[in-house]
């Protein structure tokens, strides 16, 4: 790793944190070890790391972007009461009717599935070039 001390620290902090922290969260944690780090650096490095695919951005619609050091395939359960973001395994949300989820005590009320990729039109366009 030829990352700067700050970037290294930000990455370590995200990887170790299990609560899906926001940029502000990371900023406050990192400040303990690097007191004069800039919030701008935290945002820049988090975006850099997400762009590189080393961490993951998650948008739960609460105005702040959350970050996840776990880039394995999984989805998230947001509790509308306490706000906690729980990790959910593929087998627990892919089965019909959320049976597994309910068996574990979760009460799913709303599910937002957003798939990103290339639509048929853009894919055709690309293949023509």
């Amino acid at each position: 790793m030829n990352y700067s001390r700050q970037r290294e620290l930000i990455l370590k902090t995200v990887k170790e944190n299990k609560i899906h922290p926001t940029a502000q969260d990371i900023y406050e944690l990192v400040k303990e070890k690097s007191p004069n780090i800039s919030l701008g650096t935290v945002y820049r490095d988090l975006n850099f790391l997400a762009e590189a695919g080393i961490i993951r951005k998650i948008d739960i619609g609460d105005k702040q972007i959350h970050f996840d050091g776990d880039i394995s395939e999984h989805c998230h359960f947001v509790c509308l009461d306490c706000g906690k973001i729980h990790d959910i395994e593929r087998k627990d949300y892919c089965h019909d009717e959320n049976k597994n989820l309910i068996a574990k005590g979760f009460i799913p009320l709303r599910k937002d599935v957003i798939i990103y990729g290339q639509c048929p039109v853009c894919n055709k366009k690309e293949r023509e070039n």
Copy 2:
């Protein structure tokens, strides 16, 4: 319906629009028929209608909230090239490995599944009261 003329118009505009418009989009469309409507009113009424469950908010992580007049169960495919938001039926994303999606020419690259509800801890707490 005992909605105001503005609210009625906003609702109609969202229902008729198939491209998942933003508040700004709605504002510009509605202004054609009601030239001195306020952007604040558009935001207020869109939130009111979403809260009432008559329309749906969708957050695709592009900073702006999109609205959907179709509240039936379906999910969204966001093209990373053209940005278009496509409607996807349940059967097309629930099957393993996105077979149906690929058969239709979509290239799924990333899937964000966010489930909202009540976590086991909060559910237990509620049942105890």
